[in-house]
């Protein structure tokens, strides 16, 4: 039986999980999610690490493997690092075993990952280097519109006449939105419009990965945004990608951290195996 910790350092938030696993069973002991809000992410990683330990009543020495993911390549106390699509894939199947694709929408990038039932990455696609239509953008607009991040989803779902944002540049899109407000477009219609353009981008990413049927799990910070989920579902219908269904999970935001912890356990086993072979 071993304990492992996964830390997902994003550009928007730091997520930490602690797992106990032995050969057959996996148990999730603790989790933490902290929005960065201009604090030092490395500091928050350390803090998350300490807090999950405290919650599980464990000491650092009890941890067999601390795995980082996201922008955590430089965390000093980590044992190893996995790249975020690897971890989101693994975390995704942990949360929803029937998921065959994971859509991760973080603060700056979106990613679609096509996986098999073991969480193996079959193919993936990331948004390009231009930051249009990112989580950050939605957050900025929400702040501008005076809507709390948590309210976005519910509001967007009430929209009847979504107003699409045409600019591809996030900066110019902000002005587009300002123009919309001055034209008297309702807040929910603007939000829904943004959701739709994000969803269409996601649908495109998904399509490019080559997946045609199965369950898509949304992960990352925006996964819980019900408006985005609804928009994606609509988009899948209008785009006639009907083989796919989209859903989220209350713990979606932890997918990366979960995957990191689980891969950590896997790697730990591998390393032990190698060790014993060397010893023998």
């Amino acid at each position: 039986m071993i304990h492992t910790i996964g830390i997902d350092i994003g550009s928007g938030a730091v997520k930490t999980t602690l797992f106990r696993s032995d050969g057959s069973s996996i148990e999730w002991l603790a989790k933490r999610c902290e929005r960065i809000r201009r604090r030092d992410p490395m500091e928050l990683a350390r803090q998350g690490f300490d807090e999950v330990l405290e919650e599980a009543r464990l000491a650092p020495a009890d941890i067999a493997y601390t795995a980082t993911t996201g922008e955590g390549e430089n965390v000093k106390f980590a044992t190893g690092h996995f790249y975020s699509m690897t971890t989101h894939a693994r975390g995704g199947v942990y949360l929803v075993p029937e998921a065959r694709a994971v859509c991760d929408i973080g603060a700056l990038n979106g990613r679609a990952i096509y996986i098999d039932e073991r969480g193996k990455v079959l193919s993936y696609k990331m948004t390009s280097q231009c930051a249009s239509g990112s989580g950050q953008f939605l957050e900025n607009i929400a702040r501008y519109l005076g809507v709390a991040v948590e309210e976005i989803g519910a509001l967007s779902k009430t929209s009847k006449n979504p107003e699409k944002v045409s600019s591809i540049c996030a900066v110019l899109a902000e002005t587009d939105v300002i123009n919309m407000v001055s034209r008297g477009i309702a807040t929910q219609d603007i939000l829904k419009g943004i959701h739709l353009s994000m969803a269409s981008r996601l649908a495109k990413l998904l399509k490019v990965t080559g997946i045609t049927k199965g369950m898509v799990l949304l992960t990352g910070g925006l996964a819980l945004d019900a408006g985005l989920l609804a928009a994606l579902q609509e988009e899948l219908v209008t785009e006639k990608i009907t083989g796919l269904t989209a859903r989220n999970h209350p713990d979606s935001i932890y997918a990366g951290a979960i995957g990191a912890a689980l891969w950590g356990a896997f790697r730990h086993g591998r390393l032990a195996e190698l060790q014993s072979r060397v010893a023998a």
Binding site: Y83, S84, M85, T86, V121, Y124, M126, Q129, F266
Partner: protein
């Protein structure tokens, strides 16, 4: 010399945007001339045979601040022409007595005309190559083009270029190709001993050094690299393709390796590996160069594949030959040839069950995080799952 010294020398040559190596070469004897060429391929043998130094101009890299170059290009055009213009307008290429623009795509093609306007006193030539590979059709055209080029270069050099001159040059370049093949084979065998970031620099040196010196350098590097034991990492073996024209920043190559990939074949600076194998020395040298071009040359997006079945064949062969586990498509943003070719190649790889991933770059890409993430995930997925 130790590996570090050789690499440092190459690194200096790479970073030197004022081309002192070329300047020094010219200064060493009176009347020496140098002729620049852009990616992918020009018959450097002709320049060499005329006693001039061929100089590869492969963009300005990420250290060049492009100001004027941007004034000539919209944001949706790749970066190499703008940095090349910048090099020209800032006088850094004044040391070149001529410039050859090979047929690679419309951007480089148009650049040849711009060069004629911007640098009126220089010898400028757009060098067309045939997309028809029959000796009697494309070959006849090409031999004529070669002849014209030879005559023009001879005029520029102020001396005649005989067939024997040309044969000698072909021999020298045959040797260089052999040295580079050795380098590629060695790296594929022991990628940890010859990291691509180093191999790349050693190759780059060939753009500015005389070919004889470069062949020597390559072999020195091989000996030195083999002598120095280095740690072997648990990396995935990949072929990198798509970077045949605008070159990725060195940091990108390093990032790919850092993220867990060994590059075992690539298409950087194809000019060195364009003709496959030796060009025969007997017979008409121009005919020989033409035949080598038509029938034994590298495959790349700028070339037409006569048969549907030919598409992607060389790539699959490279994967097999070098024992790669996957392919990374790294293409310059807005590079039509590379990006239009990509889906076709991906289709072929898919058919052969070879994993691949793709991303874009520019020669001055600064942000490596997304690159690391994608290359890393690719390596992860090969590594974590290959054994299971």
């Amino acid at each position: 010399m130790a590996v570090a010294d050789i690499v440092a020398r190459c690194g200096n040559l790479f970073e030197d945007l004022s081309f002192s190596a070329v300047r020094d070469w010219k200064a060493a004897a009176p009347g020496r001339k140098a002729v620049g060429y852009m990616p992918i391929y020009v018959p450097r043998e002709l320049i060499h045979a005329a006693g001039m130094l061929p100089v590869g101009i492969f963009g300005g890299g990420d250290q060049l601040e492009v100001i004027q170059g941007d004034a000539y290009y919209q944001s949706y055009i790749c970066r190499i022409p703008r940095s090349t213009i910048e090099l020209g307008l800032t006088g850094r290429l004044d040391l070149l007595d001529g410039m050859l623009f090979p047929s690679i795509c419309d951007v480089i093609r148009n650049l040849s005309g711009m060069w004629q306007i911007l640098f009126k006193d220089k010898y400028v030539r757009y060098f067309d190559v045939p997309q028809n590979y029959q000796d009697s059709v494309g070959g006849a055209f090409y031999v004529n083009e070669l002849r014209v080029l030879r005559d023009e270069l001879a005029k520029l050099a102020g001396r005649a270029v005989s067939d024997d001159d040309l044969r000698k040059s072909i021999a020298v370049y045959n040797d260089n190709r052999r040295a580079i093949d050795e380098l590629y084979d060695y790296r594929a065998k022991k990628p940890w001993q010859a990291p691509t970031a180093e191999v790349y620099l050693v190759l780059r040196a060939g753009l500015v050094l005389p070919v004889e010196e470069h062949s020597k350098l390559v072999r020195e590097y091989l000996a030195a690299a083999d002598a120095e034991p280095r740690a072997r990492r648990d990396n995935a073996r990949v072929v990198l393709t798509g970077a045949f024209c605008e070159q990725p920043p060195l940091n990108l190559i390093k990032s790919i390796e850092m993220a867990g990939c060994y590059i075992v074949d690539d298409d950087f600076m194809l000019c060195f590996r364009w003709l496959l194998g030796d060009v025969p020395l007997e017979g008409d040298p121009l005919e020989n160069l033409s035949k080598a071009f038509l029938h034994h040359s590298a495959s790349t997006a700028s070339k037409y594949d006569v048969h549907k079945e030919d598409k992607g064949k060389p790539l699959v062969q490279s994967v097999k030959h070098y024992g790669a586990e996957g392919v990374i498509f790294a293409a310059p943003s807005f590079c039509d040839p590379a990006l239009l070719e990509r889906p076709m190649l991906q289709g072929v790889l898919k058919k052969h069950g070879i994993p691949y991933t793709a991303f874009k770059y520019a020669e001055n890409t600064g942000q490596m995080a997304p690159i690391r993430e994608q290359a890393g995930t690719f390596a992860d997925s090969i590594k974590l799952w290959s054994a299971v």
